[in-house]
Symmetry: C2
Subunit: 243 residues, 2 copies
Amino acid sequence: MERIAAMNIADQIYSATDSATQDRAQAIRDQLRDAIVDRRLAPGTKLSEGEVGTLFDVSRTVARAALQMLSFEGLVRTERNRGAFVANPSPEEARQVFASRRLIEPGIAIAACGRVTAADIAAFKAQLDEEGRFIAERGPTARRSEIKASGDFHLLLAAVAGNAILQRFMEELVARSSLVIALYGRSGVSACGHSEHTEIVGALGSGDCGLASRLMLHHIDHIEADLDLRVRAGPALREALNF
Amino acid sequence: MERIAAMNIADQIYSATDSATQDRAQAIRDQLRDAIVDRRLAPGTKLSEGEVGTLFDVSRTVARAALQMLSFEGLVRTERNRGAFVANPSPEEARQVFASRRLIEPGIAIAACGRVTAADIAAFKAQLDEEGRFIAERGPTARRSEIKASGDFHLLLAAVAGNAILQRFMEELVARSSLVIALYGRSGVSACGHSEHTEIVGALGSGDCGLASRLMLHHIDHIEADLDLRVRAGPALREALNF
DNA sequence: GCAAAAAAGATTGCATACGATTTATGTGCA
DNA sequence: TGCACATAAATCGTATGCAATCTTTTTTGC
């Protein structure tokens, strides 16, 4: 039941972006992006055109278009004559992702606060329930769903803010954040993040836009503080070996 | 001589983005984008794959990739089985473009202010000279160059800010702004904009980051204030007829 | 046994071909 | 004349083929 509610939220989020869903490439991109954000595809994984094509039962032409889209979003890195790989963001890139979010999301919180409706608040509540359920559960599947739900909160906020351009920027930033957390995350951000999401919704509900904005800024700082962005031998080696 | 200096600036701006310039599609995209930003291609102009292909002497495959890139940037709108058209932003889209810039650019000004070097200041000065020269000149060619130079100022600032992600967002926003101004611009923003650019560089040079940020915000407001975003019969009709 | 060169294999870049869909044109009928 | 319908042209969506490039394996020389 609430699963259906969550689906509706997701639909609502995507409907603004994929309104004129042009072709199959878009669908493949969405599936691949979900897989990357859910960490079913690890950073550095090779995504060959042929493999993707046969997997989705389309020609290389279509697969290539999907990979090109992901490349624009920064989720895959393509090298000429070598192919596409799930992005392996450097610590510097990670810092830039979060610097961008620190700049944009407080403003999005204010915009959303100024436009939020009772129905939106209800959607946020459903979203928070969804998050809470996955935190309670155990196992890798619940973990993935939790990561996705956590990102969806930020996307829902961007949707409520009502600016399609910023919404698309946020989709990119949230997706890339997921990669960054996968690579550099130290602990489970989950419990801490969920309570902060709840506080933000509270501020939205009471119409305190300044508070919502400040809470968002702190929330992002907390997520970034959980990262270990020191250059490690592991990832550097893996990147050097093109793994 | 200063023309060469300007080229270097442009190279500097693009080098961060097109570092791994993968193929010819990128080059075609750049040329088309320049043409759109320069208003040599009017909003609504049809860009058929075949035409673009023969024009640049490549196959439809490559032309299509270039158009897809422009579609992601919001510079062209593609309709399934109908083709690609230079984007025709609605007043609502125009508002969103400038709302995004109001949110992002003051922060970029602060970031740039914190990292600006003497060499950067010199580059800004060269950029301002470039702008000034085109304002002084007359004729449509100078006009186009002036529009481009005005946008390049904002892109240079984004480059100095040192965040590749925000830089790319700004490239998109500046390009779309050019379309918006082409459609809804009332007067020549030029003289006013140039003096404001000069003030911003002054603030950067004296290290007053707060001032630079405020000046940027006012600058964006001034540009937007020059727009006439009321729904007009003209554009609405043209859009309805898919022209 | 090891290093370097050469060949084989795999994968991408790009062009072209064909079916599907849309748009333009022409014809018959009221 | 005006409208409906059928036909033709143009354009897009997608698959496939070939050359170029990169990677891996094998071979060869020392």
